[in-house]
Each structure stands twice: as C-alpha cells, then as structure tokens.
Symmetry: D2
Subunit: 139 residues, 4 copies
C-alpha cells in the first residue's frame, strides 16, 4: 500500500499590464516573479515567513539554478495558477518543480534549485529543524 | 552680469521589451526607474556613489514625493534622454526636475522630492558637507 | 438628507522580494504597480475587464498624471491594502485617489489622472456609456 | 589553419536600486532583463532592431527555454558585463550562451533558446535571409 500522491501547492496570479510587454504577452522574466510569489506563499502556508527567517535566523533562500520552458504565452487578464512541488530536500538545499497553468493548459514548466544561506557569509547553512522537517514531509 | 543658465545632467536610456506593456508603450511605473537611473548617474558623476553613501554614512536617499506628467508615450527601441536639474537643496532634502526626451520632444516631466535619511532610524539626516556643497553648486 | 459617504474599493497586496530593493523597503516605482492592480480589479469588479475593453473597443486607459506622497516605507512580507476612490469623472477622463495602507497606517497617498484613449490614434475617446455610468455612480 | 575563436558580444550594465531586493543583491528575475538587453543590442549591432523586425516582418523573437546558474550575487552599483555567443542557429531558432561578469569573475551563466515566431499565429517562421546569415556567421 502506498500513500496517495501529494498534491502540489497552488497559488493564483492575475496578469496585469505590469507583467506584459509590447509583444502582447507576459514578459519572460516576470514568470520568475510568479514562481517566487508561489514559493513564498507555500512556505508561509507551512508557517515560515521569509521576513521572519531573515530576522530570526539571519538566513535567506537564494536561487542557485532555474530551468524554465515557455510552452505557451500568457496574456493580459489571464487567471493563472502557479504550483510548487518539492522534489529534492537537503539540509541547506531544496529543488522544486513549478508549473504555470491557465485552466487545464500548462503554459510553463520550471525546475528551481534553492539554497539556504547565511546572510553575512552568503554560504549555505543548515535550515532550522522544523523547516527542514516540513519540507521533507512535503517532498 | 548673471551666470549662464546651468545645463541639466543628461543620461541616455534605450527602451527594451522589459520596459513596455501590452498597450505597446512604456509602462507608466517604469519611467520612475529611468528617473532613478539618471539621478544615480548624476550623483556618481559628482563623485557620490549611492552604494558608498550607504556603506560609509549608513544613509540613503528616499523619494518623498513624485509629480509626473505623461505627455506622449515612448515605445520599444526608442532612444530617450533623461535630465536632472536640482531646483531646491536643503540639508537633508533635494528637489529635482526631471524630463524624458526623445530627440527634441518632451515625453514626460517630473518633479521629485528626495530626503536623505539614516538607514537605522529612517529619519532625515544632514548630508555630508561635500555632497551638500556639490548639490548647492548644481542648483 | 445626504447619502452616506461611499466606501472606496479595497484590494489586498502582499510585499514579495520582487517589490523590495537593497535599502530594505518597497522600491518607489513598484507602488505604481500596486495602484494599477487595484484600479484593474476595481474596474473588473464593476464588470469592465481591461483586456476586453481593448479587444471590443480598441481603447485603453493610459495614465496622464500621478502625484504620489511616500509617507512611510513598506517592507518584505507586509500585507497592504490599496484603495481606489474616483473624485472626477469626465467622458474620457477619470481622476482617482488611491492610498496604500498597512492596517490602520497610511503609507502612501496618490492622485492618478487617467485618460481613455483610442489605441490607433492615442487620442482621448468617449468611454462606452455603461462604463461612464458606473464610474459616475462610484464618484 | 583554423580561424581564431570568435569573441562574444559584450554589453555593459550598471546595477541600480530597481534591480536589487531586500536581501541586498540583484533579484534573480532581473538577470533575465540584463540578458535580453544584451541580446537586443547584439542584434542591433548587426543591423537588426527588434522594433523594425516586428513592424516590417510581423515577427518577434520569443524565449522558449532558459537554463541559468546563479554562482555569485551582484550588488548595488556593480558594473557588469553581459556576453552573447550563439551556439546553435536554425531557420527559426537560435541558442545563445550568455554570461554575467563582474571584472574577471563570472557571476551567472545562462543558455537561452529563442524562437522566431509570426506575431499573428505565434508559430515559428523562417528568419529573413540577411538575419539568418548574420547569425550563422556569428556562431
């Protein structure tokens, strides 16, 4: 008997003029903003606000690598859903898969590698145990 | 006998896709980025790099007020010139006029009020004497 | 007997890393993005999606003037509320007051003048009657 | 006898407050803006302005895929150099390598896949012969 597959976290995003460009579509860099909003809300939903991690632990998540495929464009007014699903969790490193959906259509797939680093040295540091535990359970 | 009118500082900016929106023009918030690039380069040209002011004096310029009139749109590929002309200089406060030109045409006029504040208290603080002196001479 | 004062439209915004800058606060241009998100949702709540106005009427709202006072900074993780209250409504022009609140504190006040323009000529054009009527009722 | 290795195109970028975030470094999405500025200037230097391609050929370059490694952070005031080197050129597709340098240090490496698409159908279309020829020579 296996556990049912875990559902990825989902976060809704509306496309505004700020997100689009003169080609009439969402500008490619702006998807990375959407991805981060969803990751921030995913961590917050587990009880870990980024602003507090920074204040209490003097540590921040930084992005080490992004692979992103832009399959179909999003446009002004679109209602998108951004997903977050952790696929690898280490003591100071998380890899997440993140998709951008418009209803049933996948517009974009991304794989994002995050490192948890100390703000003064900018070197990887071990995540607080409750955070690590939450991420391991989510993966 | 009066001194000849001072020439405002000028800074060139190219319009890229990142600056535009789905209406085909530069997105209104992005002009404020252009204005700040020009102010940063104007201060740097006088010998005051913002990153060093922050490191050495633990102080930053923050914007207290912007009045901006959008007269004509800028578009993808346009070569713009951003001007900076100080019109009021106080010990912890500067007001500058900033225009956005495309060749001879003025696209945008702005009046920006800046305060020089301490980074820890976020309260106005007196500018270093050499900076104040430079600004007074420029006004 | 007078009508009770109308409540301004309210729209919530969360501050993410994308909105902040190295001074640790929300970057001044990014408030204009918040203001536009709120205006877009305000129009959508009255039944007027900007993307449809552009498709059906070949017209867009453009910003003609912004006056904005930055009173207190917003920071990473803040939960803000953006308001929209129309104060002048003409056939091709609307002026709105927009505040940014954090709980009971007003961080920013803005007055934004919008023009409704034809996309081909970029000249002011009369708003569709239902839109104009809605705006007049809201003012 | 072989030709000397081709030098990649280089484009300078200054880091302003707009580019940074509350962690004190350049926000990860903003590197994609730098990459696009460099690609735009690279094409312009070969005689192909994006705005003209869109007007004359009703075609645009869109990004299909980005792989980007963030090795070291850039900070406020840094003077960066962005490179562009084409590594694969097809009739409607180009792959470029793009690095972000600060003096001799590589901060970021990216591999970007671009498609040349018709603006109405959003389907890949053959590049104009002079553009294709220039890209093939540069690769």
């Amino acid at each position: 008997m296996t556990a049912p597959p875990k559902q990825p976290f989902r976060w809704p995003v509306r496309v505004y003029y700020e997100d689009t460009d003169a080609a009439g579509i969402v500008y490619y860099a702006n998807y990375l903003k959407y991805l981060e909003r969803a990751r921030t809300e995913w961590l917050a939903a587990m009880g870990f606000a980024l602003a507090e991690l920074e204040l209490q632990h003097a540590a921040v998540f930084v992005v080490h690598r992004v692979e992103i495929d832009y399959r179909r464009p999003a446009r002004l007014g679109d209602a998108l859903t951004i997903t977050v699903a952790p696929v690898e969790v280490g003591r100071s490193r998380v890899v997440v898969l993140q998709d951008v959906h418009q209803e049933e259509t996948v517009l974009t797939n991304a794989r994002v590698t995050l490192a948890y680093v100390a703000r003064d040295t900018w070197l990887p540091t071990r995540m607080p145990a409750p955070l690590l535990s939450c991420l391991e359970n989510a993966a």
